[in-house]
């Protein structure tokens, strides 16, 4: 037992959890925490310019480290600004611990200055929200928060600490072990179900693996590859699962979904058996739930029991961490099976579809297009580089034209679709893995939303590249207005404002506007060498659409290829 303030206990507890960096912004109600930060020995504080970015940075950091990212904000508007980032992490099952200041206990419920019922606000987008009422609860609360955030299906946890609880002195006991009786996230997969899955798989003529974000979250890359290679099963991914399986692997087909690869959308419908691994059959991935997977056997492997049967009824459900389930599944496959070779009709079909669509879907003839730019970027980046994306056309182009070679190096706001995620997330990723290049694949609309994080990138020495495909448009909305609203544009034009290279320079970063593919190549090389952030402003045609396209509310079979 040691006597200290609640704020000091918070910092100690975070350091005991191995936290090295927090992203935050101080205010009236979390001043005691910031005062305790002054004496922190391990914790590095990174000052953001808007709390939303703090949460996205913590999220980006978490996705690389596969442990909870931490962000701080004050009460009221500080806390509500965090919410978009927290909801983003929740939708993508990213572990996070967000710590907010709150007005003193006696002021709660009195509509005090900068008071918000953040527990109520955060409830639907967190795994749990704590409000310690005495200082001595803080160490245990922190321990529980990390346990909840990182275990099972990961997600964000909020700790809301009233100011007087931060200031209160108490004898602190830092528990090593905690137990939460209503929370039992570790489920060992049932062997009999894995056995059934093996049985179905061995009988299947046209099996396909649909790898989701769960594979990345549990780091089950080699296990997934082992299964695919052992039975020669082609692998499609969901968009969240992009990077679960190397996209230059001979069995890879790419992401499915609204803007998935045409061959992936096509092949999955021709399969007779789907193994969904860490995927949740979201509308963006499979189109209409009722239509998808008809006449196929579906094996669903997921850590979250509530995902089983939520969107899609399945034949076999294997509940548990997908890494260990996959490992067991691979072990249970007899080693004397006859391995398919390249003459297998199903594998030939994979090749045929890829070749067909490579031939059919043509790129625009201009010197710089999104596709050409992204292919160039991929060519020049080392495979270890990390890519994040913004949201909209840029994101979907990234899905289509930026191959992820090294698993777990691609991150996007896929569930909530938060514009402004990519840039701060790339800074968080850089903080987590400073030795590799980090690129935010961006559009102008999204970059606008969190571009003030340039200050953080420059001042905290976290140089990233913003690969800004600029059509001065909210391009995806414009595409929908072109497609579904008879070109009646409203609210999509950015009117050539602002000048992004000047914005970059104003923050002390490097801004390069390119006009040709040669200049683009030069700019990427400069960005990779730069010691400050680089914004590469790449003009693209505002009329350039993203294809293929599965319109909302339709099925994958209704895909429009634009060819």
């Amino acid at each position: 037992m040691v006597e200290m303030t609640g704020a000091k206990a918070l910092i100690c507890a975070l350091e005991k959890e191995g936290v090295e960096v927090v992203f935050g912004l101080p205010g009236g109600a979390n001043l005691p925490i910031y005062d305790a930060l002054v004496d922190a020995s391990i914790l590095r504080h990174i000052l953001v310019r808007h709390e939303q970015s703090a949460a996205h940075m913590a999220d980006g950091y978490a996705r690389i480290k596969r442990k909870a990212g931490v962000c701080f904000a004050t009460s009221g508007p500080g806390a509500t600004n965090l919410i978009t980032g927290i909801a983003t992490a929740y939708a993508d099952s990213s572990p996070m611990v967000a710590v907010t200041g709150q007005v003193p206990l006696a002021m709660i419920g009195k509509d005090a200055f900068q008071e918000t019922d953040i527990i109520g606000v955060a409830n639907p987008c967190t795994k749990y929200a704590f409000q310690p009422r005495t200082a001595n609860e803080i160490p245990e609360t922190v321990k529980k928060s990390f346990y909840i955030a990182e275990s099972g299906r990961p997600g964000p946890v909020l700790i809301d600490i009233p100011k007087d609880v931060q200031q209160e002195k108490a004898d602190m006991d830092f528990p090593e072990l905690i137990k939460i009786r209503g929370y039992n996230p570790i489920i060992e997969a049932d062997l009999s179900y894995i056995g059934k899955a093996v049985e179905i798989l061995l009988k299947a003529e046209r099996p396909i693996i649909m790898a989701g974000g769960g594979v990345i979250l549990s780091g089950a890359f080699s296990e997934l590859q082992a299964l695919s290679e052992l039975l020669m099963i082609p692998v499609v991914t969901t968009f969240k699962g992009k990077g679960a399986f190397s996209e230059n692997h001979p069995l890879a087909v790419g992401p499915i979904g609204m803007h998935g690869h045409a061959e992936a959308n096509k092949i999955i419908l021709e399969a007779d058996c789907i193994v969904a691994v860490g995927a949740r059959f979201s509308d963006r991935s499979v189109g209409r739930f009722e239509e998808f997977g008809k006449g196929m056997s579906i094996i669903h492997m997921d850590v979250d029991p509530a995902e089983i049967g939520k969107n899609k009824s399945v034949d076999v459900a294997v509940i548990g961490d997908v890494k260990s389930s996959l490992r067991t599944l691979v072990k249970m496959i007899p080693r004397n099976i006859v391995k398919k070779d390249a003459n297998d009709p199903w594998l030939k079909r994979r090749k045929e579809l890829i070749d067909y669509y490579a031939e059919t879907i043509k790129d625009y003839s201009r010197d710089i297009t999104a596709k050409k730019a992204l292919k160039k970027l991929r060519e020049l980046l080392p495979t270890s580089a990390i890519a994040t994306t913004e949201v909209g056309q840029c994101q979907m182009w990234a899905s289509l034209h930026f191959d992820v070679i090294s698993p777990g190096t691609f991150f996007s706001s896929t569930g909530l679709g938060t514009m402004g995620f990519g840039f701060p997330a790339s800074i968080g990723a850089k903080a987590a893995r400073p030795q590799v290049p980090v690129v935010d694949i961006a559009g102008d609309g999204s970059f606008n939303m969190t571009e003030n994080s340039l200050a953080v990138s420059v001042i905290d020495n976290l140089p990233v590249i913003v690969f800004l495909m600029n059509n001065y448009m909210l391009g995806m909305v414009a595409q929908w207005q072109r497609t579904f609203y008879n070109r009646r544009y409203m609210g999509v034009h950015q009117n050539r404002c602002p000048d992004y290279s000047k914005i970059a320079e104003a923050y002390g970063a490097q801004g390069i506007r390119v006009q040709s593919s040669e200049e683009l190549e030069k700019a990427i090389r400069l960005g990779l060498k730069s010691e400050v952030a680089t914004v590469i402003d790449i003009p693209i045609d505002p009329e350039e659409d993203v294809y293929p396209f599965v319109a909302p509310g339709t099925g994958l079979k209704d895909m429009i290829t634009g060819a």
Partner: protein, 181 residues
Amino acid sequence: MSKFMSTTSDTTINEEKISRPLYILSALVEDKPGVLFRVTNLFRARNFNIESITVGSTEQVDLSRMTITTKSDEKTLDQLVKQLRKLIDVVEVKVLDTDKTVYRELALIKMKADTPTSRMDITSFASIFRANILDIGKETIIVELTGTPDKIDAFKNLVDHYGITQLARTGVSALPRGTEV
């Protein structure tokens, strides 16, 4: 789980039968502030329809029991149970088998009873339904009735034309019979 369909008419008194498919869920939850909010917010956010929810203390000091009734289809019920189990403050959720469960609801019904005939009628109905008269005034009468939701509906229909001026129902509380837990 059993779905119970009853063919009994509205006025039949049969304590063990209910007139429509109804599921009864029993959940043990942490007895602390905010738990009811988390549960009801989940129902709202996921579009679950519930008929009633009751919360009260149990044999264990730090646990409350929530009894939830719903008329969802089986798929929705499955999700409801799984989503409830995901809540960290929810320690245990069971769907009770209505055949092996006792469940009761309490209702307070205030009716117009301003003539000797109406007072007589209501009093005699109350005795048939084993209800208690809690209050009689010159204008109104208050009856306390305990039973299945179906029995309460039946009584309500029977006395409706006297003019129900106020009604308060508690929602269902339930426990499995015998040694079942």
